[in-house]
């Protein structure tokens, strides 16, 4: 039971849920590796498709640049061979012509290179942007359950580090790919045409090149996958410790955190080192094959020349072209390396993009019926558990007529928050249905559901931006007057007005400078502005001081009057205002009735109520 100081890996060893380390499992399971590989290829094609035309133009520019670059040295030689003679004779014409052609070729090369690089950077950035937006939108689509096991650190890692490594690829690479392919093909053709037997010796290198590349592809794919996962763990740990920095410092956690960080950082270093070592082997390996081929051609070619089987000039040309053949190969190996790195990242991203939401949007959404009093909620034999073996709710039946305010009370783990989450459709029930105005939540379009149902929890999140923007989050179209009205209604106006910039005050970094109570007030104003038919308050007033809570409650009196409300509160002052109280225990409703009647009865509520009354004195 005791956790010793040097046992840094222990905390990661006790997995609560096999899913928690799911991304790691992806790495070793050959079936999912193959699947992700295929998916990432499809994704890449899909990403490049809109840029087909620009890609074609880029390749065209690249070819002209290459042709112009080839023309330069040729023109120089031509000038030496053909222009010096006439010049001696006083005729500067050929030299001028060649110089002009040379300048023209340089100009073409300049323009083509600039055009190519601009275009390819544009394509690369566009692909990156497209991918970034897709992945982000997908993360937002995925349900809460997914995020609970995926963790926010991994999400951040996917959207930053993984995309960075794809960005490194799109920065360059296309040119080496095209040029290498071009020179390999053309040089192979020229070699075959020059001398068949000598070309055959050269071609012997191909199986080796192929074998080496295949080995590298396999080994580096696994290694790069590991770097992706290890950097994700670095990010996960980093984010978690920076987020909890107050607790870290207050409890002198720094040395141990440093050790854990050292471990995950070292894992990442090792994983990266592995990829570097693979390329450190692969790239000189290509060099060895090239140089051995040159030596073999030199020996065999020389022998053939000695025997008179071929010309000396052919051998000389052969050697020059071999150089042209293997040099781009070297570039290609570099490119191949970034490709492998980007592929590993792309695989991770396609894994995310192909994650099926367990709470999917309906294919054919059913609109909410137009009723004068919307907000009737019903749970019909709902069974639900976060894990299959531990149901939280079993066969729960609950009907809340439109406009009713229901308070849920009961001990921790009774299922109060679970009911709230099911109604907000953070999860779908394992069996049974949750309906709103007779429509199964699973049949409602997300936009309709969110307009009708709003959940406010104890954990109030403020997004970066101003106070006003955070309130407006409840209804994006609302004007400043509506925002202020909402704040006034909830009793938040006074403190907001007292802030340095009033409503325009920036709530820095997760509301750093607003107190917990102030954040709750902003969250309330946000919910008030959203004006939903059903409002769920899960411990939404826990951090408020008494007068503020009283203001909020007074406001709730108006807010809840014409809408359905589900209130989870530990303070009975909140509960007392409800029309109806449900006492839950172990996922079942054990008491149900108006608060005053329950208080008079001799049940759990009555006991709690007495205790609470006593505590007020």
């Amino acid at each position: 039971m005791t956790a010793t100081g040097n046992d840094v890996t222990r905390w990661r060893g006790v997995a609560v849920d096999p899913d928690a380390d799911r991304s790691r499992a992806e790495d070793t399971d050959p079936e999912s590796v193959t699947r992700l590989r295929a998916l990432s290829r499809v994704l890449l094609r899909d990403l490049l498709r809109p840029h087909r035309c620009r890609l074609a133009v880029a390749v065209g520019l690249l070819l002209s640049q290459n042709a112009a670059a080839m023309a330069g040295p040729y023109l120089v030689m031509l000038g030496i061979d053909r222009a010096i003679g006439p010049l001696r004779a006083g005729d500067g014409g050929p030299l001028a012509a060649i110089a002009a052609a040379f300048v023209a070729a340089s100009a073409v090369e300049y323009a083509a290179r600039r055009g190519f690089l601009t275009l390819s950077a544009g394509i690369g950035q566009a692909v990156l942007l497209d991918l970034r937006e897709r992945v982000y939108a997908q993360f937002l689509r995925l349900p809460v359950a997914f995020h609970e096991r995926y963790t926010s650190g991994r999400m951040v890692s996917r959207l930053t580090s993984d995309l960075d490594s794809i960005g490194e690829l799109v920065g360059g690479g296309l040119d080496s790919l095209v040029l290498a392919a071009l020179s390999v093909l053309s040089v192979a053709g020229i070699l075959l045409w020059l001398d068949l037997p000598l070309a055959a010796v050269t071609l012997l290198a191909f199986p080796f090149l192929f074998g080496l590349s295949r080995w590298f592809a396999r080994a580096s794919a696994a290694a790069y996958r590991r770097t992706r996962e290890t950097i994700a763990l670095v990010i996960v740990h980093f984010i978690e410790s920076m987020r909890g920095i107050r607790a870290v410092q207050a409890f002198r956690r720094e040395p141990r955190n440093q050790r854990i960080f050292g471990t995950v950082s070292d894992d990442y270093r090792r994983a990266s080192l592995q990829t570097f070592r693979l390329i450190a082997t692969y790239s000189p390996g290509i060099k060895v094959i090239g140089n051995v081929t040159v030596a073999a051609v030199l020996c065999y070619g020389g022998w053939r020349v000695l025997r008179g089987a071929t010309e000396l000039g052919v051998l000389a040309a052969f050697l020059l072209y071999l150089r042209r053949f293997f040099e781009p190969m070297q570039d290609l190996s570099q490119f191949y390396n970034s490709l492998q790195s980007a592929t590993a990242a792309l695989e991770k991203l396609s894994g995310v993009l192909h994650e099926r939401p367990s709470v999917p949007e309906p294919a054919r959404p059913v609109p909410l019926p137009a009723t004068p009093h919307p907000g009737a909620v019903a749970f019909r034999s709902v069974t639900f558990g976060y894990r299959a073996d531990a149901p939280i709710l079993t066969d729960l039946d609950l009907t809340v007529p439109a406009g009713q305010t229901v308070a849920l009370i009961g001990p921790t783990g009774a299922g109060k928050s679970t009911i709230a989450k099911l109604l907000a459709r953070f999860h779908d029930p394992v069996s049974g249905t949750v309906t709103l105005d007779g429509v199964d939540l699973r049949d409602l379009a997300d936009a309709d559901l969110r307009r009708a149902v709003v959940l406010v929890t104890q954990e109030t999140h403020l997004f970066g931006g101003t106070v006003a923007e955070n309130i407006r989050f409840g209804r994006p179209g609302a004007d400043d007057a509506a925002v202020e009205a909402a704040a006034r209604a909830i009793g938040a106006h006074d403190f907001i007005a007292a802030l340095p910039d009033g409503y325009a005050t920036q709530v820095h970094r997760r509301g750093g400078r607003l107190s917990a109570g102030q954040r709750q007030l902003v969250a309330f104003a946000r919910a008030f502005l959203a004006d939903p038919a059903v409002l769920i308050l899960d411990e939404a007033t826990s951090s408020l001081d008494v007068p503020t809570e009283r203001t909020v409650q007074r406001a709730l009196g108006t807010i809840l009057a014409d809408r359905t409300a589900l209130v989870i509160a530990h303070r009975l002052s909140t509960v007392e205002t409800a029309d109806r109280v449900l006492v839950l225990d172990a996922g079942r409703v054990v008491e149900d009735g108006p608060p005053d009647r329950l208080a008079e009865a001799d049940g759990r509520y009555a006991a709690l109520h007495r205790q609470w009354r006593d505590s007020l004195v």
């Binding site: 905390w11 006790v14 609560v16 040295p73 120089v76 030689m77 030496i80 110089a99 300049y110 323009a111 950077a121 566009a126 937006e133 937002l140 349900p143 959207l159 670095v234 410790s241 920076m242 987020r243 920095i245 107050r246 607790a247 870290v248 207050a250 141990r256 050292g262 950082s265 390329i279 450190a280 082997t281 790239s283 060895v288 140089n291 040159v294 030199l298 022998w303 051998l315 050697l319 305010t405 997300d446 936009a447 406010v456 999140h461 997004f463 970066g464 989050f473 607003l514 917990a516 946000r526 959203a530 951090s543 008494v546 007068p547 009283r550 205002t577 409800a578 709690l608 505590s615 007020l616």
Partner: protein
Amino acid sequence: MPAESDGSPAPTAGRHPLHNLWRLRHYLRPHAAEFGWLMLAGLAATGAGISVPLVAQRVVDGPVARQDPAGLVRLAGLALLLGLAEALLIFVRRWVQSSSSMAIEAAIREDVYAHLQRLPASFHDRWQSGQLLSRITSDLSVIRRFLSFGLFFLVLNLVTYVAVVVLLIRLHTALGLVVAASAVPLFLITRRFARAYHTASRRMQDQQGDVATLVEETAQGLRTMKAYGRGPELVARFAGSARTLHDTGVGKGRLLARTSALLDLVPNLTLGVVLVTGAAAAARGVLTIGELVAFVSLQLMLTWPVQGMGWIIANGQEAATAADRVQEVLTTPPAIVDAPHAVTLPPAEVAGRLRFEAVSFRYPGTAAPVLRGIDLTVEPGETLALVGATGCGKSTLLSLVPRLHDVTDGRITLDGHDLRDLRLAALRRLVGVAFEEPTLFSMSVWENLTLGRPDAAEDEVRAALALAQADFAYDLPWGLATRVGEQGLSLSGGQRQRLALARAVLGRPALLVLDDPLSALDVHTEALVEAALKRVLGNTTALLVVHRPSTIALADRVALLEQGRITAVGTHSELLATVPAYRAVLSAEPPPVVPAIDPTPGGRGLVRS
């Protein structure tokens, strides 16, 4: 720079752009010998690579022309050896380079992390975590790439360039000087490029940090986003940031494209000038054609070093801005550290008299103080409750005790010692803290509880759990070994709060600082915790933030905090009787003002408390 002004060190204006990169050189020092070797290996590999064609040339000119098979085999063997040597040297260079550059990256990363852990809460309040994250990930990998690629080729290319130009001048002085003169436009182009690219990469890296911040914030606010169905709005906001990043990336690409093309053009035009003047010289007979050919062939060897310069400078500038960003963190002095003469108070000798003497506090970068002239004494063993309206500074006051923030004015003493004269670790060991937001880390319950006291005995942990009514922890799937926190089992707010409370009281710290420790508990549990807490508080000095009348019973005395000032101190009943403001804040009874909404009897949703 982070989005807001935050007193972070002034940007390196006026300094050389490479200043901060140069300041990281001490990380290179342990690897200096390795870098020396790999430079040598790299140069030798380049030499071997150049020799292979020369040997091939000699084969063609020598043995083949002279019909000498033995010589042929010998020279081919030499070519093979040189080729293998080249490959081996490349292998050695890359192998050595990878381990040293990765080790440097890891060392800087761990140092940045260590430094961030030392920096006070006020630093973390101001800096967006995404900006910090992008510093330890993308910025460090840029620096690593420079160390493993840019730096080496920078040296290699410069050496090659100078060597070739020297050879050219020796071959033919006038033409050689023409080539040497081409270094001037090259220098001007690269200098202008370096400056522009420096700005662009800084912008790009900052924007990457902004994107990371936005992503991190989204991950945090995911439930809120879901609850309001605001996915489309967030996607639009993200798309804005992503597009800005895209535009900067495209701009950088254009800059690089223009410069790379120019770096291509200059050697080409030089070649043209050499061709024309060389041809003229040859026509006049001052230069042989053979010399001209040799000159041009050698000059062509400059193409790659010059062309590659664009990428290398880009890489170098990115590394320089990355180093700037990393240094911004590393050079921020940790404001809260041990004083040179700091002493350790042994827990056994602590009586526990906590005194606030004219304490004022203002968050850095803000104008208005949060706390003004606080004078307050908590006697040994006494429990003092802080009461006040939402946002009046209660939590801030508590955070001063474990020195998460330091007072702006005045001082806080423990048994007469200024807190700033105590060793930080020792002070924090004396203080048990529970924050209003209970932070649990992704590790076992056990480890979360023993966060500050890894040496805690099992019975201490059990006692703490019993006090906080957190027996549920034993029933978790793996008992106290169950991992909780973000990567583990999710617990309810009340469960988290109870674990945080157990953590604070574990091992009976001399001083307890509890921020609304019972807010998320239900009435029943609250009563049980209260009873147990009362026994502990009987002989521990404690400072509590209290919102509810029910919790006030824990306190011996109460202090009322209003807008950063202590306006009343006394017992609960005294204050209730004499201070109207206190009554307004804490009384269970509604204020005498008639509520605006007229409560209809029996109507729903009305306040009846």
